[in-house]
């Protein structure tokens, strides 16, 4: 081209545009890389350079296992999908037009269908046919959505291949099979390879389908991250992602751009491009295989280390146990614990109900325990196996009777209140006095400063209590009034969150947030260690609140009931209960443990409030399917507004 000023200008704008798009694409990735070196856990505070998250990542068993699962599933599903898809592509090529069209139509479904529908449909089928959700089901699902990508890259190559080369090979004495592998296969190999890589990448990046088809104790990186997302991602996850990204980038750059000179003659440069392309795939394959081998070595080593004799499947809230407690339990009893997380009661319920995964010990909340018991999902606990029950303060067993009238299904684990956490500095800036009750959450000065709980019952509890009604109300008038109140509040709300409230309050995103009392100690300690310039205070609203109790139960279909009882008994041991309290900082109903605590904790009324402060408070009850549906319909109205 002539370098006229017009051409130069055009070139400049084109490059500018390209760079803008690249910045857009890579900015979030850069942010994550930076965060992986941030010594502060907060996403918005720079606390200095550190490599500790990288160390933590290598030390973290869940992350390494999830990484291994992710790579293994990606590799296996891509491999199987490649074999299936390549064979199918060859087969389909010799089909008549009509069956071919139908075949391709069905083949395209998983690719064009939304992930959510594919995921749900597979989950429904697995459950209907009694295939328990786990590694297998994820693998099957991934193969299913990977094959179309393989076919997509193999078919065009197959069309380009002359059928005469195949015939020529046969003519020269090759059998059909060797003719295929010696002549046709090398021709379509680039398509097969890029299909494999495409499938590998898609599998690696998938979250939604895995989310619906996974089962107990198995996490891929995606699902692990999702369970971490709402309560704040551990920076070691950034470290891992950075590491993966940099590895792939380095390999690709090395192979793609090492001979950086420009090809001079067209023929040569085309040949070189082809060569490079081959190299790119070859190298990526090498990288992938390397990861797999490393992963296999790692886990087989882990499995050898933990020879499993006895099993226990535990299903608990995220961040709801000191992980060394699990190790202690495993050491003392020789029982291998498979530990899995849920985020809300509502998410846990269908998993137990469908029996998709057979858990032995689960830790739901009050009203959910009632619902499970009423629907026959719980088995009675043999309290002879739980001598440590006498450590539990009888007050809490009494309170438990509101959802477990005979105290036969549940053993209390933690309890607490729901209240308002506020940022003292932000309130001062806004010129608002500290909140005292729920009604303050309707103060217009809080515009965009409120974090509400993203959970039906908790949100309605706030509104019902504000209106002076029972939080277990089923009256349509009362609930409609509560809905209207919540609708009126929505413009003031910054976001509806669950555990993310912690991160957001710590980074000063909002002035007030509705939180569980147990978060308080953690938040205050974290605020102090981060050296924040504001303090976070907690108040139990004067209108009364939700006294919640999370208790251990044993599902009706538990396979290791005695192990579950051993587990519950172990958790009731005062020293263990104390360890857990100090880790999760939620109030413990364990009298023995309470007595072991520092006085500072014992006297903290936010965490251990006096009974007198809770006169107007209640415990959630299960209200029946109809009321449940009514609640969720109203909640949906609020959300959709």
């Amino acid at each position: 081209m002539i370098q006229t000023s017009y051409a130069k200008l055009k070139r400049f704008f084109e490059n500018f545009y390209l760079i803008c798009v690249l910045i857009f694409l890579y900015a979030p990735i850069a942010v994550m890389m930076v965060l992986s070196f941030n010594s502060s856990k907060s996403r918005s505070q720079w606390g200095g350079f550190t490599l500790k998250w990288y160390r933590q990542m290598f030390d973290s068993a869940p992350i390494m296992e999830a990484l291994y699962n992710t790579l293994l599933i990606a590799f296996l599903s891509a491999l199987i999908a490649t074999v299936l898809g390549t064979a199918a592509a060859i087969g389909i090529n010799s089909m008549k037009k009509l069956p071919r069209t139908v075949f391709m139509g069905v083949n395209n479904i998983p690719m064009l269908n939304s992930d959510i529908v594919t995921g749900i449909s597979l989950m429904l089928m697995f459950i209907a046919f009694g295939i328990s959700l786990g590694f297998r089901t994820i693998l099957l699902a991934h193969i299913t959505f990977n094959v179309p990508y393989v076919m997509l890259s193999v078919l065009p190559k197959l069309r380009q291949t002359s059928k005469y080369t195949y015939e020529a090979a046969m003519d020269l004495g090759a059998g059909p099979v060797s003719a295929f592998f010696k002549v046709v296969f090398p021709d379509i190999l680039p398509g097969v390879l890029s299909g494999f890589l495409m499938a590998f990448t898609m599998s690696l990046d998938d979250f939604i389908i895995t989310h619906f088809t996974r089962g107990a104790g198995i996490n891929t990186l995606s699902t692990l991250i999702y369970s971490e997302v709402r309560r704040g991602i551990k920076p070691s996850m950034y470290a891992l992602s950075t590491l993966i990204f940099v590895t792939v980038l380095a390999l690709l750059l090395l192979t793609n751009f090492a001979p950086a000179e420009n090809g001079k003659e067209p023929d040569v440069s085309a040949a070189r491009a082809r060569f490079k392309k081959g190299g790119y795939e070859k190298w990526l394959l090498t990288a992938v295989s390397f990861c797999i081998v490393a992963g296999v070595c790692y886990t087989s080593w882990r499995h050898l280390a933990a020879a499993r004799s006895d099993e226990l499947y535990v299903y608990n809230w995220g961040e709801y146990i000191d992980e060394s407690v699990i190790e202690l339990f495993e050491e003392e009893t020789g029982i291998h614990v498979t530990y899995d997380l849920f985020e809300t009661n509502e998410e846990m319920y269908p998993v137990i109900e469908a029996g998709a995964v057979l858990y032995d010990a689960v830790c739901p909340s009050d009203y959910m325990i009632q619902k499970m018991a009423e629907n026959g999902l719980l088995s009675e606990i043999n309290f002879n196996n739980i001598p440590n029950l006498d450590q539990i303060d009888p007050v809490y067993l009494e309170r438990s009777q509101s959802f477990d009238p005979q105290n036969e299904y549940s053993v209390p684990y933690t309890w607490g209140t729901v209240g308002i956490l506020y940022n003292t500095k932000r309130l001062a800036e806004l010129g608002i006095p500290a909140p005292t009750g729920w009604k303050d959450l309707w103060d217009e000065r809080y515009q965009g400063e409120i974090l509400m709980q993203d959970s039906v019952r908790d949100a309605f509890m706030v509104a019902l209590k504000t209106l002076g009604f029972s939080m277990n109300s089923t009256s349509t008038e009362e609930l409609s009034a509560a809905r209207d109140l919540l609708l009126a509040q929505k413009p003031l709300v910054q976001a509806y969150v669950v555990d993310q409230v912690r991160d957001k309050m710590l980074s000063g995103e909002a002035a007030v947030g509705v939180i569980y009392s147990g978060e308080l100690l953690y938040l205050q300690e974290e605020a102090e260690s981060l050296g924040l310039d504001f303090t976070l205070e907690y108040v139990i609203p004067e209108e009364g609140t939700n006294i919640w109790i999370d208790s251990w139960v044993i599902p009706y279909n538990a396979r290791n009931k005695e192990n579950a009882e051993k587990w519950i008994n172990f958790l009731c041991r005062p020293d263990i209960a104390r360890m857990n309290f100090e880790y999760i900082t939620y109030a413990t109903p364990n009298q023995g443990a309470f007595e072991l605590l520092d006085e500072e904790y014992q006297n903290n009324h936010s965490v251990f409030p006096d009974v007198s402060e809770l006169a107007t408070s209640e415990v959630f009850q299960y209200l029946g399917t109809e009321a449940d549906d009514y609640y969720s319909a109203l909640w949906k109205e609020i959300k959709a507004h």
Binding site: E14, I29, M202
Partner: protein, 273 residues
């Protein structure tokens, strides 16, 4: 080739598709058309007409349409530039747009939260420059941004692939016959790249329409999309029948896009990658 013997090669996958694509879809239909007791009902389908579902669906449709349009507007010039610069070694283009996928999808979206938050990276930069803060986190705008970000490669790649296949001489011929740049673009390049555009539109529109993760992470759960409704019916509301019914409604939209694809993609091979 011996057609009969090669045709057998397709059979394993045929069985696979029956088991893992067709039967699961039938399961959705079964759940969607029954109530909790297993009796036949159309309520789950008709439920889409309720105000909140309509609102969620409408919002999903408009947000995904807008983000599809934005993707298209960003991608087309981009694909043209990539084609012109003869960064034609297609592996490079694929490389640049596939690479971000090796960083986890959830983390990438979370990173946008970090960027967009009130006290986030972008606002810190803006305040250093003494510019007014950007307040789009937890708004539909943030969701659109998330959609555009996550699905942009699915628009760029098919369009680029179609454009790259167009012989330079076809464009030269148009210029030779008197067409200026604009005419060449509108009369030659655009019509020739329609298959890629259609393919890109479906590949962006469908996932955008049904996403629940992006709206959760960047919309602060304040904005309910149809994907959120369905996801919550399955993981929280535990009314699977309603969730399945709504999924069936969604599939109607997907069917429409499949028909579009079939119409414009005569070779039946797609142009996505």
């Amino acid at each position: 080739m011996n057609k009969k013997s090669t045709r057998i090669l397709a059979y394993p996958y045929l069985v696979w598709m029956a088991g893992f694509t067709v039967i699961p879809l039938l399961m959705i239909c079964y759940y969607g058309l029954t109530d909790r007791t297993g009796a036949f009902t159309l309520d789950n389908i008709l439920a889409v007409a309720s105000t909140e579902h309509m609102k969620a669906l409408w919002l999903s449709l408009s947000l995904s349409l807008i983000s599809t349009l934005i993707c298209l507007l960003i991608s087309y010039p981009l694909a043209l530039i990539l084609r012109q610069h003869h960064i034609g070694k297609s592996s490079f283009v694929v490389f640049i747009f596939i690479l971000p996928m090796w960083m986890n999808f959830l983390l990438r979206t979370m990173a946008w939260q970090t960027l967009l938050e009130k006290n986030g990276v972008i606002n810190s930069l803006l305040s250093v420059l003494r510019l007014p803060p950007l307040a789009i986190i937890n708004t539909p705008a943030a969701i659109i941004l998330g959609m555009v970000y996550n699905f942009l490669p699915f628009m760029v790649l098919p369009i680029y692939n179609v454009l790259a296949k167009i012989d330079d001489n076809v464009m030269n011929a148009a210029r030779d016959l008197g067409a200026d740049n604009v005419t060449t673009l509108t009369k030659i390049l655009l019509p020739l790249s329609i298959p890629g555009i259609i393919s890109g539109i479906t590949m962006v529109f469908v996932p955008a329409l049904t996403t629940f993760v992006i709206s959760n992470l960047l919309g602060g759960s304040k904005i309910l999309l149809i994907g959120n409704v369905i996801e919550q019916e399955f993981t929280r509301g535990s009314n699977w029948n309603l969730g399945a019914g709504l999924s069936m409604v969604l599939m109607v939209f997907i069917l429409i896009s499949m028909t579009l694809i079939a119409k414009y993609d005569k070779n039946g091979e797609g142009t996505a990658f």
